[in-house]
């Protein structure tokens, strides 16, 4: 560790007053299927193109979360949003339809916790009262940007991951009912020299470890202080690597640790090592995790969304994959 403190503590305890998750059909028939608010009927969500479908899914998540909180878009001060597409088209095109200030953020698949960190900071500082934090990803649009045409017949290694078609939005507010964000740990970019684009889990696990260690050293919490610890989209292999790496540091994550990407699909769904994409952590946070917290089954949760910050261009140029993970601590407070 560098000795610098990476963690922000929020004294005013901004709350997550509502959350909405919208997912694709494959995600909807996975193990978490019945926890999601909306399962879209087809990949294009009744639009002409996959990109428009992704925007519709994104819009549904944002508007749905606002409505669930009993608000209108006019009550939201800032929308913090991001996605995986070039120029953040999904977020920005949805923002153009909403009467809210907008900050587009990119941190690959860790964008959800980046949005929550910044939203909580703005509210905690008293600058704004309510923020909407949203991210999403879509299998078909990500596939075309990062890989091959959808119908092209190619094989993938068994350790690759499946981009989740999912979007999630959380409404943060200075006051209200719901779990509070007590801390946020800003990640550092970590690169352990992995250059295999199919092995995102292995590339991102060290970044998750780096932030995990920072959370523990900055806050003084240990694994036992949390009811659950989630990473964003390390997948089955990445989660196993994170367990190994933290074991080397003397941390035993045990049953408390799960990965959102791994939870999203069952092994029978042929999704290789599980889900990936910005929508993974966003949809699981706003369905499964918020549900468990509001029911009182979890009282303190650490969410570490993980992101791989590469592009196909730099990868073809032989660069290794720089990764990051931002963490937020959610707690049920009085």
């Amino acid at each position: 560790m560098s000795g610098k403190n990476q963690t922000l503590q929020f004294k005013n305890k901004p709350r997550i007053i509502s959350g909405m998750s919208v997912v694709g059909r494959r995600e909807g028939s996975g193990p978490l299927g019945d926890r999601f608010d909306v399962v879209i009927p087809n990949a294009k969500y009744n639009e002409k193109t996959f990109e428009k479908g992704e925007q519709a899914m994104f819009r549904r998540a944002i508007v749905g979360a606002i409505e669930k909180a009993g608000l209108t878009p006019f009550d939201i001060d800032v929308l913090l949003a991001g996605d995986l597409l070039n120029q953040l088209v999904s977020s920005s095109y949805v923002a153009r339809e909403l009467p809210v200030c907008y900050l587009g953020l990119y941190s690959a698949c860790s964008t959800m916790t980046e949005c929550l960190t910044l939203g909580a900071t703005l509210i905690d500082g008293g600058h704004i009262v309510r923020a909407a934090c949203a991210t999403g990803s879509h299998f078909a649009t990500a596939e075309r940007q990062y890989r091959y045409p959808l119908e092209y017949g190619c094989q993938r290694p068994p350790y690759s991951q499946w981009t989740a078609t999912a979007a999630g939005c959380s409404i943060l507010a200075a006051e209200g009912e719901g779990p509070a964000i007590t801390h946020a740990t800003i990640g550092r970019v970590v690169d352990y020299g992995i250059n295999d684009l199919n092995n995102m889990g292995a590339a991102m696990a060290p970044a998750a470890l780096d932030t995990l260690l920072a959370v523990f050293s900055d806050t003084g919490y240990c694994v036992g202080d949390f009811d659950a610890i989630f990473t964003g989209d390390l997948g089955r292999l990445g989660a196993e690597i994170l367990r190994d790496l933290s074991g080397e540091q003397g941390l035993s994550l045990g049953q408390k640790y799960s990965d959102c990407g791994e939870m999203l699909f069952s092994r029978e769904q042929n999704c290789y090592c599980g889900g990936s994409g910005a929508g993974c952590s966003a949809s699981v946070l706003n369905s499964f995790i918020l549900g468990k917290m509001n029911a009182g089954e979890y009282n303190r949760v650490l969410l570490l969304a993980t992101g791989a910050l590469m592009s196909p261009t730099t990868s073809y140029q032989g660069e290794t994959i720089p990764c990051i993970s931002h963490g937020v601590i959610l707690e049920n407070v009085k």
């Binding site: 091959y148 119908e151 092209y152 017949g153 992995i194 292995a202 292999l237 190994d244």
Partner: protein
């Protein structure tokens, strides 16, 4: 890490991590993949041989070259249809090189790109991106055919 991400210690750490990842990552079963590729590639070839023989039987006046051409045309059409209906990528997931190497693989690569980029229009979408995947095949086909031709010419000059 504070010492710089390209420092000696980071390079050593990365090398250690890479070999650990290499060891822990699940591998695709080589023998199983080979057998599946052989079965699907072989089946494609058997079907096309049968098709060729059938055409030759039905139209005895056709030359061998024309029979071959018609067989290829049918295979390509079927592969394009399979791509459009969404079967081809499912077969290829098992077939690997067995479905990639025959002429049907080329048809799938072109038609899948054509379909995929239709949303950007016929000029900037389909026309521009159609050779996206097969471009390297075409380029390498021409380059290596040229090399082979030159070698053959040289051998011919020597042996003359």
């Amino acid at each position: 890490m504070a010492a710089g991400w390209k420092s000696e210690s980071a390079i050593r750490r990365n090398a250690r991590y890479s070999s650990y990842v290499e060891a822990i990552s699940p591998k695709s079963g080589t023998l199983k993949s080979l057998l599946k590729a052989f079965a699907i590639g072989g089946l494609t070839c058997v079907i096309s041989e049968l098709l060729g023989d059938g055409i030759a039987l039905a139209f005895p006046d056709l030359s061998t070259e024309l029979v071959g051409a018609y067989t290829s045309m049918i295979l390509v059409t079927v592969a394009v249809l399979f791509t459009g209906f969404g079967f081809y990528d499912v077969i290829a997931r098992h077939g690997g090189a067995g479905s990639f190497l025959p002429i049907t693989g080329f048809a799938n690569a072109m038609s899948s790109a054509a379909l995929e980029y239709k949303s950007e229009g016929l000029i900037f979408g389909t026309s521009v991106k159609m050779f996206n995947v097969v471009g390297p095949v075409v380029v390498n086909g021409i380059v290596w055919a040229t090399v082979a031709g030159i070698i053959r010419y040289i051998i011919m000059l020597i042996t003359l």
